[in-house]
Point group: C2
Chain length 271, copies 2
């Protein structure tokens, strides 16, 4: 196994550049940290190189699997690990991954679209929730937190590797494209109709807006309906990730209901 | 208006003690910060003293209202404000509040109970979500983050003032008491029955456990059913506040459905 001890090693210096958004975009590479994310990256086939500390026992299984798959595994010093890690106490394993090729619009009955969701924790958490609910894809409009920043990746808890996520330059245009193909495009907006009473048919795209300013005007115009969660008590609003989670799971519940009641099959027969 | 410029002023020193959990508990007093929380504290009738910076224009309305209500309003220097604030940039207004007298068990159809939820942001966010959904009360078991710490208060976004929140020394005992009175006590646990298929009748208590360890054994034994959200995709779990939010809103949706379909009235007639 290759061993690197110096933080000035050119390969390490090249990896260190990936802590910057611009360098990640240009090289289409990113780093994930910790045994859990390493396992997910390996399972997704996106891992290229594994860096492991000498004493990272919890990470040995992932390193062994990487080696068996013919990937480059490098043992590095604590100093090297610290120079690459975003955590105060590095987790002993880092993977260099390539970004997935993802140029086709996500398909399937349930898609999540984020319009300038700024907080990396929110972007990651919403992707994680969409994955848990069985959504089939995510669209990231411009102005969203960088998907491949350590904070976003960590909030996805591995879901970044589970479903297609497409960054689009013009979210309104992508939504219009999906609407033309028959999808309900649900803009979640203050003052919208009660989310529970209006029940758009599948396929549906749930659009979540910026934490402070909501959905942009252009994206709102591309929507086929405008819904909001009811506020029954004294609270004026919900936490952004919580609101998204409630709507994501409600859409999944309806989709399952439609599926099990056979409505979906009927709709298809009528086409 | 009284003016205090020195951080060594005895009244300011007494207030500064309230940044400690123990002193808050003993005095049954706490501080809230910012114009929004100040308005909520005033509306709830729990505010005793208002401290305002000279140039806090956004807070003037709250200060005027406090003065009109006969409360003590003190103009303080920036140094005094900074010595009491938890924020890097203080928001210009602080209120000394008394904790509400709350000794009766919360009543009503929907109650949230937290069992050793550790993260202040989670405790605050879950209270905010319960408020938004129209829940009628919250029980905090031992081991939960301090309700009156600045982080918890800020995550409630004012909901701390909207619904009864009772700290109980023995959550299992309180839950058994509610179960004896006819409430379904729903423990949310990995491996539980599908939350959407099992449909406990109202009144219900939703119990959320610790972020890492879930619900304690004793509390779990006090539950009348054990439910979990379905994981349909690749994610293993949900963010704690998101999972709580999904279940809180689903319970509120069912409650509304029962109410509008008249089932609840029928059940009562049968009693």
């Amino acid at each position: 196994m290759k061993v690197i001890e110096s933080i000035r090693n050119p390969q390490i210096q090249a990896l260190r550049k990936l802590t910057r958004t611009r360098d990640r975009r240009e090289s289409r590479r990113f780093l994930v940290e910790g045994p859990r994310m390493a396992e997910e990256a390996l399972a997704a086939g996106l891992c290229e190189t594994v860096l492991i500390s000498r004493f990272a026992e919890r990470s040995q299984a992932a390193a062994d699997r990487a080696e068996a798959a013919g990937l480059e595994v490098i043992q590095v010093s604590e100093a090297v690990m610290e120079s690459l890690s975003e955590n105060r106490t590095p987790q002993g394993i880092l993977c260099l991954c390539r970004m997935p090729e993802q140029e086709q619009m996500p398909e399937g009955p349930l898609i999540l679209a984020l319009d300038a969701v700024q907080n990396p924790g929110n972007v990651g958490t919403m992707i994680r929730t969409a994955d848990a609910a069985g959504f089939t894809g995510v669209l990231l409009g411009s102005g969203c937190a960088d998907l491949y920043s350590p904070k976003t990746l960590s909030a996805t808890m591995g879901s970044v590797f589970h479903l297609p996520i497409l960054s689009v330059p013009d979210l309104a245009q992508s939504l219009m494209f999906l609407a033309e193909k028959g999808a309900a495009v649900i803009a979640t907006e203050l003052g919208g109709e009660d989310f529970y009473h209006a029940c758009p048919p599948s396929p549906s795209v749930l659009v979540i807006g910026n934490e402070g300013n909501g959905i942009s005007e252009k994206v709102s115009r591309a929507a086929t309906c405008h819904l909001a969660l009811p506020m029954r008590g004294g609270a004026e609003s919900l936490n952004a990730s919580v609101a998204a989670g409630i709507m994501i799971y409600e859409m999944a519940r309806r989709e399952e209901q439609r599926f099990s009641s056979g409505t979906q099959t009927k709709e298809k027969e009528n086409d």
